[in-house]
C-alpha cells in the first residue's frame, strides 16, 4: 500500500482526531495517502465520526482474543496487518497502551518508535521533548523500513468536521491462545478509603486565605468541577478543617500532579517543597508579592472569594 496508517485506540475518540490531524500533516509533506486502522468491530462507530477529509480506507482488526488488550495479542495483530498493507508510516496516539506494545512491535521490524511527538517538520523531522521538557530534539527516520510514530495528546489540533464516507475493511489476524502470555485482570480504582494525593492527577489546594472552615465548600465545588482531589497547607489541617492526610508540604505529602491549584496559599517553603514537582501550577492569591507566584505557571491576583466561583463556572462551561 505504502502510505500512512493512522491507528485508533478504543474510547479515545478525541485523541484519534488529533492523530488524524498529525497524519494529514505528514501526508501533506510526503504526498502519501492516508488510511486508518484500529482494533474493534467493523459495525461499531469506530470510524464513523471522523472529522476532516476522511482517510482513504479504514481497517477494523477483529479477533476474539483481542477483546481484552494484551501486548502479545495486539503485536501479533498489527504485525500481520502491517505486513499486509506495508505502510511507510504508522502513526499512533501516545497512550499507556501504545507505550506498552508498539516499541516491541517496531522492534520486530527492526525499527524504533519515535514517541511522544509534538510537531512534524519538513523532512519529515519529528520533534519531541528531551530532558524533562528543557530541550527539544528533531528525529529523522533512516532506511527503508516502516516508520513508527506516536503523537502527544493535545499537540495537534483536531481539524473541523468535513463530511465524507470511509470504506471499512475487516481484517482478521491469526492468533493462537498459547501466544498470549499475560493474563490481565479487570481495571480497578485505587482504594476509596485512603486519600492518595500522590497519584492524583489534579489537585486543588487551599491555604490560610480561606479564612474559615465554612468557606471550604466554595473550593470543594471547584475541585469537583475539575475532577480534582482537595488538599491543604498545614495550618488548615492543624485547625482540623481538613484531615491530616490532605496536607501537602514538608510535614505532609509530596505531590506531583498534572495540575495544582494553590488557592489562598502564600507559598512558604514548607509548602513549596511538597508541590513544586507539579507539572502546571496555578496560584490564586490577593497578595501580588506572595512567593507562590514565583513557582506558578499561571496566576490570578485577586480575591479568592470572587475568583474561585468564577473559575468553577468557567470550568463547567468549558466541559460542554
Amino acid at each position: 500500500m505504502s502510505g500512512i496508517l493512522v491507528v485508533q485506540e478504543a474510547r479515545k475518540d478525541r485523541f484519534f482526531q488529533e492523530t488524524l490531524a498529525a497524519g494529514r500533516k505528514l501526508a501533506e509533506s510526503t504526498g502519501l495517502t492516508l488510511e486508518a486502522a484500529g482494533v474493534g468491530d467493523s459495525n461499531n462507530d469506530l470510524f464513523v465520526n471522523v472529522t476532516g477529509p476522511p482517510p482513504g480506507g479504514a481497517h477494523a482488526i477483529v479477533h476474539p482474543l483481542l477483546e481484552t488488550y494484551t501486548a502479545d495479542g495486539f503485536i501479533l495483530a498489527f504485525q500481520q496487518l502491517i505486513r499486509k498493507l506495508e505502510p511507510d508510516y504508522i502513526v499512533f496516539p501516545h497512550t499507556y497502551q501504545v507505550r506498552d506494545f508498539v516499541p516491541r512491535l517496531a522492534a520486530r521490524f527492526g525499527q524504533v518508535l519515535i514517541g511522544d511527538v509534538t510537531a512534524i517538520e519538513a523532512g519529515p523531522l519529528f520533534v519531541r521533548q528531551l530532558f524533562q521538557g528543557k530541550l527539544s530534539g528533531s528525529y529523522r527516520h533512516q532506511g527503508d523500513g516502516p516508520c513508527f510514530v506516536s503523537i502527544q495528546s493535545g499537540a495537534f489540533r483536531s481539524d473541523s468536521p468535513v463530511g465524507g464516507k470511509t470504506n471499512i475493511f475487516q481484517f482478521v489476524p491469526e492468533i493462537d491462545a498459547t501466544q498470549i502470555r499475560t493474563r490481565p485482570g479487570e481495571p480497578f480504582r485505587g482504594s476509596a478509603q485512603t486519600v492518595d494525593l500522590g497519584s492524583a492527577q489534579r489537585i486543588v489546594s487551599v491555604g490560610r486565605g480561606i479564612k474559615d472552615a465554612q468557606n471550604l465548600p466554595l473550593v470543594q465545588e471547584l475541585a469537583t468541577a475539575l475532577g480534582a482531589e482537595i488538599a491543604a497547607s498545614r495550618p488548615i489541617c492543624d485547625n482540623g478543617w481538613l484531615p491530616m492526610e490532605r496536607q501537602v508540604g514538608s510535614s505532609g505529602q509530596t505531590v506531583a500532579p498534572k495540575l495544582y491549584l494553590a488557592i489562598g496559599i502564600s507559598g512558604a517553603i514548607q509548602h513549596l517543597v511538597g508541590m513544586k514537582g507539579s507539572q502546571c501550577i496555578v496560584a490564586i492569591n490577593k497578595d501580588p508579592d506572595a512567593p507562590i507566584f514565583e513557582v506558578a505557571d499561571y496566576g490570578i491576583v485577586g480575591d479568592l472569594f470572587e475568583v474561585v466561583p468564577a473559575l468553577t463556572e468557567a470550568v463547567k462551561a468549558a466541559k460542554q
Binding site: 498545614r234 495550618p235 492543624d238 514538608s250 505532609g252 512558604a268 517553603i269 514548607q270 513549596l272 513544586k276
Partner: protein, 625 residues
C-alpha cells in the same frame, strides 16, 4: 583493721569491674591529652570551683560546693584517721600545724553539715522532678556524711581520751568504712570519676568524633562504646540538669538526655563493653534518639563533664550508617541531597533566579567575602528576605563580596542525623568548589552553616574562615546608625513587617533577641547580635536567654522530619518570647525565623514582628524600601 580490709575489698569488688569496663572499651580516635592547659583550666573551674554546679542551680549548687570543699579540706583528716586505724596518726592534734588544720577542717565540717542537711531536705521534702524517683541510697549517703561531720565536730567537745572519744572514733571509722564500698554502688561514684571525666573531656562543644576505620559505623553496639563514653556513662550523678533544659523533654517527647546516659550505663552493667547487642533497643530507644534537636543545652549544663551530643549523634550514626533507621522523611532528605544540591529538594534554577533578580554579585575570587546563602537563604522566602537585607547593609558598608554560582548544602542536617557517607560527599565537594574559587572568608546568615563549615568540615579538609553575619555587623557598628523612627506596630499578623518609616515615632520599641542554639551555646556569640538589635530598639530578655536559650525546634535535622509528638517546641518558645511583651522578636538564624513565623501566625493579631538582625540593621539605612 580487718574491717578496713573488708571495706577496701568491698570498694574494689564493685569498682574493679567498672574500671575494667571503661578500660576495655575501645580507645577514642583522635584523643590527645595535650594541650593540657585547657584540661587543667576546665578542671579548676568546673571541679575545684564547682562553677557549673553553682551557676545553674545557685542554692543547691552552693550547698553541694560546701560539701565538696569540705571533702577536699578533710582529705588530710581522713587520711590521718585511716592511719590511726593501723597505728599513730601523722597529724598531731596537739601540735601547732595539726591544731590549725583540724580547726580549719572543723569550719568546713560545719559548712558541710549545713549543706548536706539542706540537700537532704531538698531531695526528700521539696523533691524537684529532675532528681527522679526518691533515692534511698542518696538518703543513706547523706546520712553517712552527716554522721561523719557530726562525729568529727563532736570530738572537739569531749576530752581527747576517754570512752566518749573512743566511741566517736569508732563511729567515725565505721561510717568511713561503710561509706567507701558504697561509693561505686551508687551514683556517688562521681566522687572518684567525675574529676577525671571533666579532665579528660573532648574539649570542644558538641564535638562529633571521627569514625575510626572501615568497621566503625558509629555507636551500634557495646563494642563501639569508647572509653570516654563509658567513663561518662558511669559519671552521671543523675542531677537532671540536662533533662531540665531539654526542649524535647519539656514538650512531652520520649527523649530524656539523662536516660540516654543511664541507658548506656545499664547496658554496660548488664552486657559489658564487648557486646554485639544493639545499643538502641532495650536500653535506649531509637525514637528518642531521633527527637533530639542537638541544641546542646544538656551538654552545656552537665557539671560532671558528660558530652551528650557525641553520644546521641553516635547512636544516630549507628542506625543511619547501617540502614536500620527507617523514616520516610529522613530517606527523602538523604535522597534529595544524594541527587541534588539542597536539603529542600528545590531546583537550583530557583536559586539562580533569586540571584539574578536581586542582582547579587557573583564571587570571582577577587572579592573579600563570599556570602554563603545556604539552603534557607537561597530557597526559603523568609531566608531570602534576610539575605536581601544583609546585602543592602553590606553594600552600604562598602564591603566587597560575592555569592557562589553554585552551592551545595553544607550538610548540617545530614551530619546531625548521622549519615556519614552523604556528609563526606557534601563536605568534600564543597571544599573542592571553595578551594577552586579561591574563597578565603565566608559570611553566612545561618549558624548551622557556620558551625558545619568551621568544625565539621575539618574532618575532610581545610575550610576557609567563616563567620556569622552578626559578627560581621558587630564589627561595623559605628557605621550603622541608630534607628529610632521605625514603627514596628504596623505589621500584619503573619509577622511580615509592612509599613514605611514613621518619622515622628520616637518611642523605643521593645525587642527580645532569641539566641540561636548554634550561635549561642555552640559558638559563644551572645553580645554581637544584641549590639546590632539594639540599633532598632530597647532590648528585653526572655526568661531563658544566652546559654540557657530554649531551642526553636528545627535543629538536628528535625525540621526536615515532619510532624513532632507532643507540644511543638517552636510554639512553646514563641509563647515565651511573646510573653516578654516585646513587639519585635530578633532572630539570627533562618531556621528560628521560619519556625517562629509559623508559631506566631497561629496567634494571629497581636503577635510580635519577626526580624532578623540583618533586617533590623537595614532599617537604619538611608535608602527607602
Amino acid at each position: 583493721m580487718a574491717l578496713a580490709l573488708l571495706s577496701l575489698l568491698g570498694f574494689g569488688w564493685r569498682f574493679g569491674p567498672i574500671l575494667t569496663k571503661i578500660l576495655q572499651s575501645k580507645k577514642d580516635p583522635g584523643f590527645d591529652l595535650f594541650p593540657i592547659g585547657r584540661r587543667v583550666r576546665d578542671f579548676v573551674w568546673e571541679v575545684l570551683l564547682q562553677a557549673k554546679v553553682i551557676r545553674e542551680r545557685p542554692l543547691a549548687g552552693i550547698a553541694h560546693a560546701l560539701v565538696f570543699w569540705a571533702f577536699c579540706a578533710f582529705a588530710l583528716v581522713t587520711l590521718n584517721h585511716c592511719a590511726t586505724i593501723f597505728g599513730p596518726g601523722f597529724l598531731d592534734p596537739a601540735g601547732r600545724v595539726g591544731r590549725l588544720y583540724f580547726d580549719f577542717a572543723a569550719l568546713f565540717a560545719v559548712a558541710c553539715a549545713v549543706g548536706i542537711v539542706g540537700l537532704f531536705l531538698r531531695r526528700f521534702l521539696a523533691r524537684p522532678k529532675w532528681l527522679g524517683e526518691v533515692s534511698w541510697g542518696s538518703g543513706l549517703i547523706a546520712l553517712l556524711i552527716l554522721v561523719l561531720m557530726v562525729t568529727y565536730l563532736a570530738a572537739f567537745l569531749v576530752p581527747a581520751t576517754g570512752t566518749a572519744a573512743r566511741a566517736l572514733w569508732w563511729a567515725h571509722t565505721l561510717t568511713l568504712l561503710a561509706f567507701l564500698p558504697l561509693i561505686p554502688h551508687t551514683k556517688h561514684l562521681h566522687l572518684v570519676l567525675s574529676p577525671i571525666t571533666v579532665f579528660l573531656s573532648r574539649g570542644g562543644f558538641a564535638e562529633i568524633p571521627p569514625l575510626a576505620g572501615d568497621e566503625d559505623f558509629g555507636l551500634v553496639a557495646g563494642k563501639d562504646l569508647t572509653r570516654l563514653v563509658s567513663l561518662q556513662a558511669y559519671s552521671c550523678v543523675e542531677c537532671g540538669r540536662c533533662m531540665e533544659h531539654c526542649p524535647a523533654n519539656n514538650t512531652g517527647k520520649l527523649l530524656n538526655p539523662k536516660e540516654v546516659v543511664l541507658g548506656l550505663r545499664g547496658y554496660l552493667n548488664d552486657l559489658g563493653p564487648a557486646s554485639e547487642e544493639p545499643l538502641l533497643g532495650k536500653y535506649n530507644s531509637q525514637e528518642a534518639a531521633f527527637e533530639c534537636t542537638t541544641c546542646g543545652a544538656c551538654e552545656f549544663q552537665c557539671p560532671v563533664g558528660i558530652e551528650h551530643l557525641p553520644i546521641i549523634v553516635g547512636l544516630r550514626r549507628g542506625a543511619v550508617n547501617t540502614g536500620t533507621w527507617e523514616n520516610d522523611y529522613g530517606a527523602k532528605l538523604f535522597l534529595a541531597l544524594e541527587r541534588g544540591s539542597n536539603a529542600l529538594g528545590m531546583n537550583t534554577s530557583e536559586r539562580d533566579k533569586f540571584v539574578e533578580k536581586n542582582a547579587l554579585p557573583l564571587f570571582d575570587g577577587t572579592q573579600e567575602y563570599c556570602l554563603w546563602l545556604g539552603c534557607m537563604g537561597a530557597y526559603d522566602p523568609r531566608g531570602r528576605e534576610i539575605v536581601v537585607a544583609l546585602v543592602r547593609v553590606m553594600r552600604h558598608l562598602g564591603a566587597s563580596f560575592g555569592v557562589m554560582r553554585k552551592e551545595r548544602c553544607t550538610g548540617d542536617p545530614v551530619r546531625r542525623l548521622g549519615n556519614d557517607l552523604l556528609f563526606q560527599q557534601l563536605a568534600e565537594s564543597n571544599l573542592e568548589a571553595l578551594a577552586q574559587s579561591k574563597t578565603k572568608k565566608i559570611i553566612s546568615i545561618c549558624p548551622h552553616c557556620v558551625r558545619t563549615i568551621q568544625e565539621d568540615w575539618k574532618a575532610y579538609g581545610t575550610p576557609p574562615e567563616v563567620e556569622h553575619h552578626s559578627e560581621f555587623l558587630a564589627r561595623h557598628m559605628s557605621e550603622l546608625s541608630f534607628v529610632s523612627r521605625h514603627d514596628f506596630s504596623r505589621a500584619d499578623s503573619a509577622g511580615k513587617s509592612v509599613g514605611a518609616l514613621a518619622p515622628e515615632v520616637s518611642r523605643k520599641e521593645k525587642i527580645v533577641f532569641h539566641d540561636p542554639c548554634y550561635l549561642g551555646r555552640y559558638r559563644g556569640v551572645y553580645e554581637e547580635p544584641r549590639k546590632v538589635a539594639a540599633l532598632a530598639g530597647e532590648l528585653v530578655e526572655a526568661p531563658r536567654s544566652h546559654e540557657r536559650s530554649f531551642c526553636c525546634g528545627a535543629g538536628g535535622g528535625l525540621v526536615f522530619l515532619g510532624e513532632e509528638k507532643g507540644e511543638r517546641v517552636s510554639e512553646v518558645r514563641a509563647a515565651e518570647l511573646a510573653a516578654t511583651g516585646a513587639s519585635v522578636v530578633g532572630t539570627a538564624c533562618p531556621f528560628c525565623n521560619t519556625m517562629f513565623r509559623d508559631a506566631f501566625a497561629e496567634k494571629g493579631e497581636g503577635a510580635p514582628v519577626l526580624m532578623d538582625i540583618a533586617q533590623l540593621a537595614a532599617r537604619g539605612l538611608p535608602e527607602s524600601k
